[in-house]
């Protein structure tokens, strides 16, 4: 028994240490198979990670565009969208690989400033996507106009609740631009469209579904007349759905407005639990990002921002091919 356990344990430890030596992100290389990979430009893409399926959709858009344009990409990110420092480490690692260009979705719009400067000093063009960076270094930002998108969500929320009552917000964070823009955009949209509605202070759930569900239930508990809840990203919105379901009768009239898609949100809209959501165009964002990187490598000038678009979708238009194309599971 002892020899077997020692052997097992040794194997366990060896495996632990080997795997632990790899970073917590799971980088994947893609691009055309075979050929001389030294001749193909390599674009390093550091996204916000794997907490939401949104990023897988961006990745698939990036991969297909990379194949079309015959470039190599790696697409990686930290395990959770709170791991700002891990993302900084990935940036440094990407710099060491001397890519032809960098694609970057900032978890913290200010933290990366010094690392990005190193990219600029090495003449590596930087393309920002999803969340912009507070800096002039990125040649362009391929993103959704998050403020406008959230304002659109607010407009629909006002319609859904009849412009009266109390509305709560579950925001994913206040450190990334997507978090702050969506929060501010929603608040401005509510003020513009239904100023008499009482808007609760935003609560932050880090995009964790269980935490967001608990927050939703606390909001419903504290405000029995709550008319609507807005979830500012996939995890927050799905958490809000779970919270409303768990609260049962107390929440049966709450109108939920979400952001992005994912299987659970799509199901919630189809079943009626969620009234509707704003979807971005993640596949389009991935394509635009790689296209912009290649254009930058080839010396073309780029517009300051590339608006990848957003759409409101609900039960009435979810089967529209235009909407289906931008939804992801």
């Amino acid at each position: 028994m002892r020899k077997i356990s020692v052997g097992l344990a040794a194997l366990g430890v060896a495996a632990s240490l080997t795997l632990a030596a790899c970073s917590s992100g799971t980088p994947t290389a893609s691009g055309s198979a075979g050929g001389d990979s030294g001749a193909k430009p390599y674009i390093a893409i550091v996204s916000k990670g794997f907490q939401h399926q949104f990023w897988q959709a961006v990745k698939s858009g990036a991969e297909s565009k990379a194949k079309e344009l015959n470039v190599d990409i790696t697409f990686e990110g930290p395990a959770a969208e709170t791991e700002v420092e891990a993302q900084m480490t990935m940036l440094q690692a990407a710099l060491a690989k001397k890519p032809a260009a960098l694609g970057f979705a900032a978890l913290d719009s200010k933290a990366a400033a010094s690392v990005l400067q190193q990219f600029k000093d090495a003449n590596i063009p930087v393309i920002a996507f999803d969340s912009g960076v507070d800096s002039d270094i990125p040649l362009t930002t391929a993103a959704t106009d998050n403020k406008a998108a959230a304002a659109e969500a607010a407009k629909h929320m006002c319609e859904l609740i009849g412009s009266k009552g109390t509305v709560g917000m579950i925001v994913h964070d206040q450190v990334s631009k997507s978090g702050t823009d969506r929060r501010d955009g929603f608040i401005e949209g509510m003020k513009a469209n239904c100023p008499d509605v009482k808007l609760l202070d935003p609560q932050y759930g880090s995009g964790d579904q269980a935490k967001s569900a608990d927050i939703a239930k606390s909001m419903i508990q504290a405000n029995p007349d709550i008319a609507g809840i807005f979830g500012s990203n996939e995890g927050s919105a799905i958490g809000a759905v779970k919270g409303v379901q768990e609260a049962g009768d107390a929440a049966k009239n709450v109108k939920l407005v979400g952001f992005d898609s994912g299987q659970a949100q799509i199901d919630a809209i189809n079943s009626g639990v969620m009234a509707g959501a704003i979807t971005q165009n993640p596949v389009g964002m991935g394509e635009a990002l790689v296209q912009a990187a290649v254009d930058a490598i080839n010396g073309k000038t780029l517009p300051k921002t590339i608006d990848t678009g957003f759409y409101w979708y609900d039960k009435t238009n979810i089967d529209d091919p235009k909407i289906q194309a931008v939804l992801y599971k």
């Binding site: 356990s5 344990a9 430890v13 917590s24 609560q203 964790d208 269980a210 508990q221 504290a222 768990e246």
Partner: protein, 340 residues
């Protein structure tokens, strides 16, 4: 299996004082819980102390961390620590989904296999600690990273959804179902209470519990009295793994899916619950009741602050302060006891 008498006169005296200390510890923790509850009730009398808030919100939100902290208690009493309960929970959730969704196994079989998988993770931890002599911090830290990576690899970084209305309805029912007719009482809380009873019996009425405390108090003396401490450490870590697996089962039953990117950070909350409940990080003493109270204190604070719309950031500050106060009071009383 020989069972030598570990209660030599010296340890008998120590265990009596230990028993008294545990009682006082639990009392203090309980009073703390009541105090915090009263404070929030005064602040929000219409909303906070209601049946639906207590059962549906507070108790319900304490379930997952509570389950993780039950296993962590057993390990911390040995003088060790388990940093892998958070990501281990996530990996077990992914495995539960793999068994039931990807491999289409029936729910009961999937549950058993998931529990066994959790025990396996604990077994590896225990072997690394007991046989290879790795410090528990390092051994479980490595496991934490391995589990985090494996969860992403096995699930392909995508959530795995259960068939909530069809094949896996029973699984979902474990969390959000309502076994007790007439009253609204989520099953998840029943599962947690049942697990707490099991943990209590393990710690207080079985050899595993006795040796757990004995190893934590003085591992050399325990070994010298003929007990195979290495074997028992492995058993204790494996048992803790069962609770981690149960945590993974309950969180994925609640969410209706296995979320492979969550879990990191849950271990700190579990350890906080154990510490707030009065279990000493240096080992040798601790109670399940204290841990349950600690988990409830955290849940009450989170719920109260959310209801009062206090900014999220303050929740962690307050939790940290609570831990400091609890540990300080414990140290203060231990020193007074020692000097008297």
């Amino acid at each position: 299996m020989s069972s030598p008498d570990t209660s030599a006169p010296e340890t008998a005296g120590r265990s009596w004082i230990g028993g008294l200390r545990n009682q006082v510890q639990q009392l203090f923790a309980f009073l703390g819980l009541i105090l915090i509850f009263i404070v929030f009730s005064i602040a929000q009398p219409q909303v906070f102390p209601t049946y639906s808030n207590i059962t549906g919100n507070i108790l319900f939100s304490a379930v997952v961390i509570g389950l993780l902290s039950l296993g962590a208690t057993l390990i911390i009493i040995t003088g060790g620590i388990d940093l892998s309960v958070g990501t281990g929970m996530t990996l077990c959730a992914v495995m539960a989904a793999t068994f039931m969704v990807t491999w289409h196994l029936p729910v009961w079989l999937g549950l058993i296999l998931t529990l066994l998988f959790g025990a396996l993770l604990g077994f590896v931890n225990g072997t690394n600690v007991a046989i290879l002599g790795l410090p528990p911090f390092i051994a479980t830290l490595a496991m934490m990273l391995v589990a985090q990576g494996l969860a992403l690899v096995i699930s392909n970084a995508a959530p795995i959804y259960f068939d909530a209305t069809g094949a896996h309805a029973a699984f979902i029912w474990l969390s959000t179902g309502n076994l007790i007719p007439g009253v609204k009482f989520p099953n998840a809380v029943l599962v947690f209470l049942l697990a707490a009873v099991v943990a209590y019996v393990l710690l207080n009425k079985t050899l595993l519990g006795r040796y757990d405390i004995s190893i934590g108090s003085n591992v050399e003396a325990t070994a010298l009295s003929g007990i195979d401490t290495r074997k028992w450490l492995i058993i204790i870590y494996a048992t803790a793994g069962l609770f981690t697996a149960l945590g993974g089962i309950m969180i994925s039953a609640r969410l209706g899916s296995a979320q492979p990117a969550t879990g990191a950070g849950y271990e700190l909350q579990a350890i906080a619950a154990v510490v707030i409940g009065g279990t000493s990080l240096s080992g040798g003493k601790g109670t399940i009741v204290g841990t349950v109270i600690g988990a409830l204190i955290i849940a009450v604070i989170n719920n109260g602050l959310q209801i009062m719309s206090v900014r999220q950031e303050w929740q962690n500050v307050i939790l940290g302060l609570v831990i400091l106060i609890v540990v300080f009071i414990d140290q203060f009383r231990s020193r007074r006891l020692a000097s008297s």
